[in-house]
Assembly symmetry: C2
Homo-oligomer: 187 residues x 2
DNA sequence: CATAGAAGTAATTAATCACTCACACCTGCG
DNA sequence: CGCAGGTGTGAGTGATTAATTACTTCTATG
């Protein structure tokens, strides 16, 4: 039978999806070490024990979250790149920047990647976030054809955005904050 | 009597200094939540209990570490700015960039600021790191006379450096890593 | 020398953590 | 219906944590 809405239980795969999505918010605000599995469970509306049915351990869950965010980011880039295909490197980069600006509406998605960077000394997490940025950089290179310098500028701008978000500088009315925000698109 | 080297005990102020300096390394690698007061104590060569004689709690210690790093950074900028005083904004900014490149030799100093950014949802830590960047940005503005865009570029480059360091991308031999490193000075 | 007070710690506390296990409930299928 | 297997949890486990307490050792000074 096709999945009916009269079902009370979800399949494990559906639950995993829910946990993954809700865990983003938790990890984004308090990072890997600062987030407890109970908080994740509560956010997902399940018991803490069941988190361990869906993921072998906290580290695996965090790595899965990283990969989820990384994938969503690349999908957003792919959308933008498809529309700007064949134009000059600078134009494609600009389209990707636009995609990034729209992505930023969901602050948590980018903050998770920042948090992952901060927890990169944990081997499995370091591997995951490095792989994420490796894919990201090579994807941008492939789709834009831009040179090293332009790609670097693109990512530097991204990291700036992340920092502004993490500091809450996007909602602070002070010269230093608006200087860091200069020219950043937001929706 | 002037402080003799035959003393076995340090003064509390001396100890506080030592703890502050050694705690930088601990907090830099595992962040605020991930670092235990025992690790800090061990690194400083004192008992865990004595950490609480020198600082009221873990949060105050971390805030003190942030301020210590922030101060050292501004001192480095002040040195560089003094030498480049009176030259064009771009030249002063370049001198500050050079100072930053030399500062980066001590990875931990910058990583602490990155970790503080990630823990900025903790109110006291957020206040400290925001104040740090507020001072930093306004200092750079005052000493260079550069416009918003140039200052923003300067900090974006700094955040890029921090991320490269945190990822270990400075020692990775892969295209994505060297693309992110493009043109970055290092010593 | 005696002693006040500072330097320093071992031992402990209460809370919280990641993780486990035994068990209950639900659901599709023969 | 019966029952196999998937969904889900309550009630723990031992380890670790930030923070405290009660105590010892050192040292400057009168």
């Amino acid at each position: 039978m096709a999945r009916t809405s009269s079902r009370q239980l979800s399949t494990a795969d559906e639950r995993r999806e829910v946990v993954l999505r809700t865990a983003i918010g938790a990890f984004a605000t308090r990072g890997y070490y600062g987030t407890t599995t109970s908080e994740v469970a509560k956010a997902a509306g399940i018991s803490q024990a069941y988190v361990y049915r869906l993921f072998p351990d906290k580290e695996s869950l965090f790595v899965a979250v990283i990969e989820h965010c990384s994938t969503r980011m690349r999908e957003a880039f792919a959308d933008a790149a498809a529309k700007a295909e064949g134009t000059a490197p600078a134009a494609v980069l600009d389209a990707l920047g636009e995609a990034y600006a729209r992505l930023i509406v969901d602050r948590d998605l980018l903050l998770v990647l920042l948090q992952a960077t901060c927890a990169a000394t944990e081997p499995a997490i370091g591997d995951a976030i490095r792989a994420c940025y490796a894919r990201e950089v090579e994807y941008v290179r492939a789709v834009t054809g831009a040179d090293d310098e332009a790609i670097q500028r693109f990512f530097a701008r991204g990291f700036l955005c992340n920092t502004v978000l993490a500091l809450g500088a996007d909602t602070i009315d002070a010269p230093w904050a608006s200087t860091l925000r200069t020219g950043l698109r937001h929706y």
